[in-house]
Symmetry: C2
Subunit: 345 residues, 2 copies
DNA sequence: ATAATTTCGACAATCGATTGCAGAATACAA
DNA sequence: TTGTATTCTGCAATCGATTGTCGAAATTAT
């Protein structure tokens, strides 16, 4: 295990009585080396089980062919799907992925970002943590000449490349759908409003109410209900008021919606006839609950591919055109299931 | 964006009229530099927004403080949880993670492993792809002096560090539980037998039958039923024979069990009274189906932490003791839910 | 046969940080 | 004051691969 000396281009060069430069050129398939020596070099490299030292190569070349990713949680469905999507697209171009999770803490997020800068990654892809307020560390990425792509949860004040969902539109459609189903008192479980995505979803909700001339009822809007537990708690609260809602839009996540469903069922509310429920994210389980939960699909894996391709595209233009902030918005899709079919189907 | 020159220790040295070595020493908090100059250097580094070039540092130091991970699918619950567990433990020690997915293809797996060797990672953590037959590429990892830790799906013939579940025991307990519930004709949906984990699960099944003196019925054992679709197909088959099973153990995954449940329900079998179902992995959704599915929890995140700690522990011993192959076996836990409660509760 | 052009390969510098060695500067003791 | 020990700093080599420059050899053109 220890002290194993790996073969370098110098070892190959020495064995063949040539210089390392020729070996390097052969390995990089340059023209400036004789076909025969090239073959000989390749053969010897194979024999000696040579593996290029990417560290040295990258140091010299000044880039790393590596993309750093920072997400709140690796093992959250949406994020792991985005990552898988990025991986698929970058793998073909021989890029590596360094993955960090901020665990929803900005201080850890800052550390992660710094590590990635140290690593000389070519690009940082990030979805910010929930408690973020200051984005100096992201500005810092730009200052170091590293491409920065924000996705989903973005710091809107920062002018970077962004790949997002059209949260407002999706939310609008979801609420409109519920209204058209006949629900009239729709409660909104909203997420931390410092995040743009949650503000947008709220706007969509409000716009839908407005369109259908429904009143905005403050006591039906619950802040910060974005985990299963908080969703459950919020549900207990809104279902206990004198005039409870006849539908709940858990705009933060399907987990929240799951909390809603469990509490509502436990409290004796019939879903969907007495209470409609809509979640957000299209987690796998939404299909399996009874009733199945209406939700919004964010095309997470596609989003990942989009991010990767956006990076490659920008790389190509880098030399010629000045980089302009660009936003790609993906329209999510409303998945209508049983939990909002007020009148059956 | 382009051609941004990053500050190096030389820039700092030049500005302060000292040498780069002193700067390096100060940055590494060495004693061999005056307290005052150290402070000055740190301050200047801060001012110039200096970030260490990890590439250069690692090249010189001969290691990368990086662990490479290769899994079949990043976005599969079990794997993303293991990864999250590894991340948690390694983060504290300032290690980075490079993550690759083999997409269940050995040829891609080999490429991933080679990339990681090139990257000079200090350790490779791998769960092999399903179609693996030859493990030369893993031997190669060892030959390059890189620590190798296999987990879950391991190539048993290779003597490396391994972190696995006690699949046989878990399977034995699951089947025993079903038998004790009164199920007598238990069908086994098994996974590709070239993978040790699936062989072990089969052994556990057979041992349980033997213990309770139940006959082994070949037509109740279905090969290669390890996705939802294959599980569904297998179920259609076994439920159509003249004497159908009264229970199905989807030993490959909960997805397979889900396929079983859907087909069984569609065919009019009552779960759990007419047909018991047990899955494997404790995916989140198993709690949400109706009925909820009995399954086996693998402590995935804990497994990740165990892997990381195993690596750190081996690192400490590396110099003194010769590395010996070591296997850590984690005992999974049977989670009993409604789908196997034959007589209600 | 000579000149002009290619092709090939060696040399040396470079990427940025680290570190062994040696010498300078300072402190302390005799 | 001289000698010894200690602290600090600089020099230069090193990690392994890449690449611009230049000269030698081989090829082609004249």
């Amino acid at each position: 295990m220890k002290n194993k000396k790996r073969t370098t281009i110098y070892d190959i060069a020495e064995k063949l009585n040539i210089t390392a430069s020729s070996v390097s050129r052969a390995l990089n398939n340059s023209n400036y080396v004789n076909e025969n020596t090239k073959k000989l070099i390749l053969k010897t490299a194979e024999e000696l089980n040579y593996k290029r030292n990417t560290l040295a190569s990258n140091l010299r070349k000044g880039h790393s062919k590596t993309i750093g990713i920072v997400v709140p949680r690796i093992n959250q469905n949406f994020f792991s799907n985005v990552i898988a999507g990025i991986e698929e697209a970058t793998y073909q171009k021989d890029y590596n992925l360094i993955i960090c999770q901020s665990s929803e803490s900005q201080s850890k997020e800052i550390k992660c970002v710094n590590t990635l800068i140290n690593q000389h990654v070519d690009c940082i892809v990030i979805s910010v943590s929930v408690d973020g307020t200051d984005y100096q560390h992201l500005q810092n990425v730009l200052d170091h000449g590293i491409q920065l792509i924000q996705f989903d949860r973005v710091a809107d004040e920062l002018e970077t490349l962004k790949v997002i969902n059209d949260n407002e539109q999706a939310s609008f459609e979801a609420v409109s759908h519920m209204i058209e189903q006949g629900y009239k008192r729709i409660s909104l479980l909203e997420g931390p409003q410092n995040l743009q995505i949650f503000r947008q979803r709220k706007t969509g909700y409000l716009n839908a109410l407005k369109k259908y001339d429904l009143p905005i009822i403050d006591e039906l809007i619950v802040e910060n209900a974005w985990t299963k537990e908080l969703g459950a708690e919020a549900t207990r609260k809104v279902l206990s008021i004198s005039e409870p809602p006849d539908a709940i839009f858990a705009s933060t996540s399907d987990f929240s919606a799951l909390g809603v469903l469990e509490v509502a069922t436990a409290m004796g509310f019939k879903v969907p006839s007495q209470l409609g429920i809509c979640g957000y994210s299209n987690e796998a389980f939404t299909e399996l609950t009874s009733p199945s939960i209406t939700t919004i699909d964010q095309f997470s894996s596609y989003m990942g591919k989009t991010i990767a391709n956006l990076y490659f595209q920008e790389m190509e233009n880098k030399e010629e055109i000045e980089v302009v902030p660009k936003i790609i918005s993906i329209k999510p899709k409303l998945i209508i299931r049983s939990s909002t079919k007020k009148n059956g189907d």
